[in-house]
């Protein structure tokens, strides 16, 4: 019976390890961990719950129906308002205008889509901007070059 002391000792040690493990597990593993998989389910909820920045595709039409209707009838029908302007949330909060919407008047906006490039599909309408503006070689492109002839009406419904 001289060895029982060892057994008690080791049992106590094991018990402590076990308690440590259970406690450690309780404190180290977040609440929702493992609800649906090997991850924190609340992270999914947080990610999914973020507010959208862009509006729905027709969100501008609620207040700018004239522009929206005009655009829908023209060749820019597939170009979202937010591509040329800015996101809905920069302009509207709680269904009311709270800040001005950006207006991009730079020729670069048009150039993103219309500058002639070899890689661009031939079906896309493209212009060699320098040629289209009849610039002399080496001339810089004026910042708002396109708006001189393509006015707001034309841009929204070419």
């Amino acid at each position: 019976m001289e060895h029982t002391k060892h057994i008690w000792r080791i049992s106590l040690l094991l018990l402590l390890v076990l308690i440590g493990a259970v406690l450690g597990r309780h404190f180290l593993i977040p609440d929702s961990f493992g609800k649906a998989g090997f991850y924190r389910y609340d992270a999914l909820v947080e990610l999914m719950g973020k507010e959208p920045v862009h509006g729905a595709p027709d969100s501008c039409a609620d207040c700018h129906d004239e522009k929206a209707l005009a655009k829908a009838a023209g060749l820019h029908r597939s170009v979202q308002c937010e591509v040329c302007h800015d996101v809905l949330s920069s302009h509207i909060r709680d269904d009311d205008k709270y800040a001005d919407m950006a207006i991009n008047r730079s020729y670069k906006l048009c150039a993103y889509c219309h500058q002639k490039l070899v890689a661009r599909p031939a079906a896309m309408v493209q212009v060699d901007i320098a040629e289209h503006l009849e610039l002399a070689p080496g001339d810089a492109i004026p910042a708002e070059a396109c708006l001189e002839c393509h006015d707001s009406e034309n841009i929204h419904a070419p």
């Binding site: 076990l18 493992g34 090997f38 999914l44 999914m48 591509v83 490039l117």
Partner: protein, 266 residues
């Protein structure tokens, strides 16, 4: 050797070793409890109830992405939209557009100045260029993810609808996943120092909207489908046309399909 000495062969050291093994096994049972019900695509809780935080039920969707290379005009609207929607830091990209020029002899000249965010300028290449096109790229949301598998803290995970996501709070920024991704879809965020990547705009999907990149594509080169929806057009196109995946040899089973995509694209 007497019987007595043989009994004493079981020394204190042996006893401790055996006990340690036993404790290890016990520990596995205790800790292993968390692993026992792991299945990436269920949202059944331990007690069997289905969990869905929104009216949106993640188990009812499985998103597919379709890119028609012949329609991409390389305008970069998607890259700018993604940047605004997800607050992506400058010079980092959750999606980007690459431009390819391929010469008659098969030489590939690929570039993507600033991810295509600021559009593309004409490029002079001193070669006989016989084909040229733009290719949008984003996270492939692989079914068999190389990235989420090796996250040491369970910060990278696959959501019930098959999206590969990052839990910023748990991520320790070790960047194992950044190196593991064969498509280069991940980066370490310069401010939070955690892994960051395309979420397929899951915050929009959960509200019935489409992703920022798909919504702002002027030509329909990018499309989103749902293989659990009835009569989904994208699923039909994938089923009936000549689609391809990127790096299929890695068996990552991507969910982004490419149509009209030349083999130079990897």
């Amino acid at each position: 050797m007497s019987r007595d000495t043989r009994r004493n062969d079981f020394t204190r050291r042996d006893f401790l070793a055996t006990a340690a093994k036993g404790a290890g096994a016990l520990g596995l049972v205790v800790f292993g409890g968390g692993f026992a019900f792991v299945s990436a695509n269920t949202v059944k809780s331990r007690t069997g109830e289905t969990i869905g935080p929104f009216e949106y039920d993640p188990t009812k969707h499985e998103y597919l992405y379709l890119i028609d290379v012949s329609k991409c005009i390389g305008c970069g609207s998607c890259v700018r939209a993604c940047e605004r929607e997800n607050d992506v830091p400058r010079h980092y990209f959750r999606t980007l557009v690459e431009r390819y020029h391929v010469s008659r002899h098969g030489r590939v000249y690929a570039d993507s100045p600033n991810g295509g965010r600021d559009g593309f300028d004409a490029k002079d290449i001193d070669a006989d260029i016989t084909k040229s096109f733009f290719v949008p790229k984003l996270c492939n949301h692989c079914t068999n993810t190389p990235c989420a598998q090796l996250c040491p803290v369970g910060a990278s995970f696959v959501s019930p609808e098959g999206l590969v996501l990052v839990d910023e709070e748990r991520c320790i920024g070790c960047s194992y996943c950044v190196q593991a991704c064969p498509y280069g879809s991940r980066f370490i965020h310069p401010v939070t120092h955690t892994a960051s990547k395309c979420t397929l705009c899951c915050h929009r999907l959960s509200k019935g909207l489409t992703t920022a990149c798909v919504q702002n594509c002027p030509t329909g080169a990018r499309r989103l489908g749902d293989s659990k929806a009835v009569g989904d057009e994208v699923v039909e196109i994938i089923a009936t046309s000549n689609v391809r995946l990127l790096k299929p040899e890695l068996h990552t089973e991507p969910k982004c399909y490419y149509v009209n995509c030349s083999q130079e694209v990897r």
